[in-house]
């Protein structure tokens, strides 16, 4: 490389840096000025959006340009509630905001598409629903899931079985938001979510999510199904702790066989989940197993066992007091500190 080449590279780098920074500063000055104008314009548009705009006002809203209107709606829609929100949505729809959002959802950047999907969930018209349904096949998984959540939160979701396939739930898509999605659907259509648990071709992770989504429903007919899944799951199954937690949430004594089996699991996180569930249900029949777990190798299991025993009431506290006097050193510590922490006397 000649001397001239080296100096040319240096000069080019300097020129490029100078050009970039000049561009950034000029852009900042221009956008700063523009932002002030936009800010002023938004101040005028806001009352129009919040009221029932007349045709003239609607024309003014449209004249402001789709970008300003779109961004204003995106920012504000989360802040209005009740009748004001319905009014806001109606006016924004008449002003053509949904066209902008649908265009963004179809061809914007990944970030713009995800934001558009989120906001479109607030617009119940058919075109928006169709756009969101189309976005269930978006190339980006975040946009797909956001679209599904937007549809589900406004009771427009396709059948969950179809979502499992289109979003690859439990196969490519492992987000915990799957539970939120199924919870939203189960508010209106619990049977469809329930059908996922019984489905043969449904991935285990989706079954677990469906169980979690339904675990606050109080539908005790699910207990038997969850028990069957729990008994059939292997020790290393990642879904097993989720099943056990769901059994704990139902607080139904029929879970005893499944929980008793897994209190003796070879995997610490399964034993811990089983102990936690036993405590939540108040399974006095498992008190001896829980007492033995106070000497478990894993601290988390000892902690959950101690916690569960305190939840069993007097019999559990008696066992803890006994363990604090006569157990192994590890069990004594676990029992003594659990009692002390719960401010119970040994």
């Amino acid at each position: 490389m000649s001397l001239i080449d080296l100096w040319t590279i240096s000069l080019l780098l300097s020129a490029l840096a100078l050009l970039i920074i000049t561009g950034l500063i000029v852009a900042r000055v221009i956008t700063g000025r523009r932002q002030r104008e936009v800010q002023a314009q938004r101040g005028k548009l806001l009352p129009l959006l919040l009221g029932s705009a007349s045709d003239e006002e609607l024309a003014e809203l449209r004249r402001s340009g789709p970008d300003i209107l779109g961004s204003l709606v995106t920012e504000l829609i989360e802040l209005v509630r009740g009748d004001e929100r319905a009014q806001f949505v109606a006016t924004a729809t008449r002003a053509g905001v949904t066209c902008t959002l649908r265009r963004q959802l179809a061809s914007g950047s990944t970030q713009a598409r995800a934001v558009a999907a989120e906001v479109l969930g607030n617009f119940p018209d058919e075109l928006c629903t169709a756009a969101l349904e189309e976005a269930l096949d978006d190339r980006d998984s975040r946009v797909r899931l956001t679209s599904a959540l937007a549809l589900a939160s406004s009771d427009r979701s396709p059948p969950p079985q179809l979502l499992v396939q289109r979003l690859g739930l439990g196969i490519h898509e492992h987000s915990l938001l799957t539970v939120t999605l199924l919870s939203e659907i189960s508010r209106q259509r619990p049977d469809e979510v329930r059908a996922l648990i019984d489905g043969d071709d449904v991935p285990a992770a989706v079954k677990a999510a469906a169980i979690e989504a339904l675990s606050s429903s109080g539908d005790y007919s699910l207990v038997g199904v969850i028990c069957r899944l729990t008994l059939a799951a292997g020790d290393l199954s990642p879904e097993l702790p989720r099943y056990l937690r769901a059994l704990g949430a139902f607080q139904h004594p029929a879970a005893l066989p499944a929980i008793r089996l897994h209190l003796a699991s070879s995997t610490w996180w399964v034993r811990a989940a089983a102990a936690e569930a036993a405590g939540r249900i108040g399974l006095a029949e498992a008190n001896l197993e829980l007492s033995q777990l106070l000497d478990d190798n894993d601290w988390w299991v000892r902690f959950r066992a101690g916690e569960a025993l305190t939840r069993l009431g007097e019999p559990g506290r008696t066992l803890l007091a006994e363990a604090s006097r006569c157990g192994t050193e590890r069990a004594r510590d676990a029992a003594r500190l659990t009692l002390a922490e719960q401010a119970l006397t040994a």
Binding site: L3, L6, W7, I9, S10, L11, L13, S14, L16, A17, I20, I21, L24, I25, A27, R28, V29, G32, E75, E78, L79, S109, T110, Q111, A112, A114, V115, E118, R142, L149, H174, S175, L176, L177, V179, T180, S183, P238, W299, W300, F303, G306, D333, A334, L337, T338, A340, E341
Partner: protein, 475 residues
């Protein structure tokens, strides 16, 4: 010059080899930086949308796992109450703040007891990772989110280990007690753990410098540039480190560092790798490397990520002595970790982390300062004795400096396009001038500090040295 004198062939060969080593290392660094710049741009473009906190809360609050925020404190009497108040005001569904008083010699513990009304309690906690004995645990039933652990002094890593043992949440967030987290920082940082719960092991967020900014009630209210030149240079350095290097390495799945000032980790895995190591001042880097090693050794799929949005504000040293000690310590920490895990370097078993992550540490952190300082000393020397041409020397120096400026300015594009935290256009001009000025004096000084770190490492020096906190300038 030196007419009539002919150098021995070995001297000429030595001079040529020296020049080539300097050039080759420089080119490798340039190549790394260019690739990082591209990956950082892709990373910023592909990151999840930056939505308002309200939307984030509505979507993520139900599924966000509990977090234990671990704040080690040593002689933080002046700032501890404000720091803890700021942490307790975080916007997150379920979290506990565990302040670990690491045997402070001042009244840190008493300030906590007096202000928050905490009293001694019993708490059943784990003893999986080693640390100095805990003297007592303090809580107040009216503040169920606060727990104070008082322990004997053992250093930051020791305090964090005590915090990990005492914590019960599945995730823990390590921070410095004198840092300020933005109120929604935890909610933004937890997103990857919700999106990929099976794989996510650790997530780091951006650290920014609050020097010069207006702070009120534990929050950065108005971002401003500091007047102190050293603080300004560090702002440029932090932008390069976080918005370029870490973002790019994260995109390549080869991130080797999550800053000790702000990182979110899966607690159980941190326990399985033995927590923070005691025999290093680079405990934050070492924990990340241990996690990489553990997951790869066990053939478990995993991800360690950096996300640019959540921000933790910290105070940068504004005088040369403190900054010098900090940089020497960072260099020593890097070398200690690199040396301890050197078998991972270019080892196919460790994939990208062995080749890209460790390769980058080798070229930029291990060889970089050595070669640059050797270049500063040897190249003029070789020129003085007539073995190198002044024209080439100046041309290479010019390239080195202009490339440094170019990288800094390019990082400003990323900041401007994606984050835009600096409110005024003149801030960009000032930072550009700083990125030019840093080449003349600061850059050389910085390399000197790093060599001091190397010297400390070779002498097996331990400990953090004296830290001086100025405290945030509040409104």
């Amino acid at each position: 010059m030196t007419q009539g004198f002919e150098w021995q062939p070995w001297a000429v060969t030595l001079a040529t080899a020296t020049a080539w080593i300097v050039i080759a290392t420089g080119l490798l660094q340039i190549a790394f930086y260019l690739v990082q710049l591209v990956y950082a741009a892709i990373g910023l473009a592909k990151r999840p949308p930056v939505v308002r906190s309200a939307v984030l809360w509505r979507r993520y609050a139900d599924q966000a796992p509990p977090i234990a925020v671990l704040a080690p404190a040593f002689n933080e009497e002046v700032t501890i109450v404000e720091s803890v108040n700021s942490l307790l005001a975080l916007h997150y569904p379920e979290f506990e703040v565990i302040v670990i008083n690491d045997g402070s010699k001042d009244g840190t513990l008493q300030r906590l007891i007096d202000h928050f009304g905490v009293t001694r309690v019993d708490r059943f906690h784990e003893l999986s990772v080693a640390h100095q004995p805990i003297r007592g645990i303090y809580a107040n039933p009216r503040l169920p989110r606060l727990l104070v652990v008082d322990k004997e002094n053992g250093g930051k890593s020791d305090a964090l280990n005590a915090g990990i043992n005492v914590a019960r949440a599945p995730l823990f967030c390590s921070i410095d007690a004198d840092s300020l987290l933005e109120s929604d920082a935890l909610l933004r940082t937890v997103r990857p753990f919700v999106d990929e719960p099976d794989k996510m092991v650790a997530v780091g967020g951006t650290i920014r410098l609050a020097n010069g900014s207006r702070i009120a009630s534990g929050r950065v209210e108005d971002v401003r540039l500091p007047r102190n030149f050293l603080a300004l240079v560090q702002i440029v350095e932090y932008l390069r480190a976080f918005l370029m290097a870490r973002l790019a390495l994260s995109r390549m799945q080869a991130l080797t560092v999550i800053s000790g000032a702000f990182g979110l980790f899966r607690r159980r895995l941190a326990l399985e790798v033995g927590g923070y190591s005691h025999n290093t001042v680079g405990e934050d880097m070492e924990l990340v490397i241990k996690l990489h090693r553990y997951m790869r050794d066990n053939k478990r799929p995993y991800r360690i990520e950096f996300i640019p949005d959540p921000v933790c504000w910290t105070e940068a040293p504004e005088d040369l002595a403190v900054l010098g000690r900090q940089r020497a310590r960072w260099q020593r920490g890097t070398l200690e970790t690199f040396s301890k895990h050197k078998d991972m370097l270019f080892n196919p078993r460790y994939g990208r982390i062995g080749f890209i992550g460790f390769g980058q540490v080798l070229v930029v952190d291990v060889l970089g300062p050595l070669v640059e300082v050797a270049g500063y000393v040897l190249v003029p020397l070789l020129w003085a004795i007539g073995l190198l041409s002044i024209e080439y020397l100046l041309a290479f120096l010019a390239i080195t400096f202009t490339f440094g400026v170019f990288i800094s300015v390019a990082t400003l594009i990323l900041e401007e396009v994606e984050l835009r935290r600096f409110p005024h256009a003149r801030d960009l001009a000032i930072l550009t001038l700083v990125s030019v000025a840093e080449n003349f004096g600061y850059r050389q000084l910085s390399n000197f500090w790093r060599l001091r770190g190397l010297w400390q490492y070779l002498r097996k020096q331990k400990g953090w040295g004296q830290m001086t906190r100025k405290g945030f300038q509040t409104a």
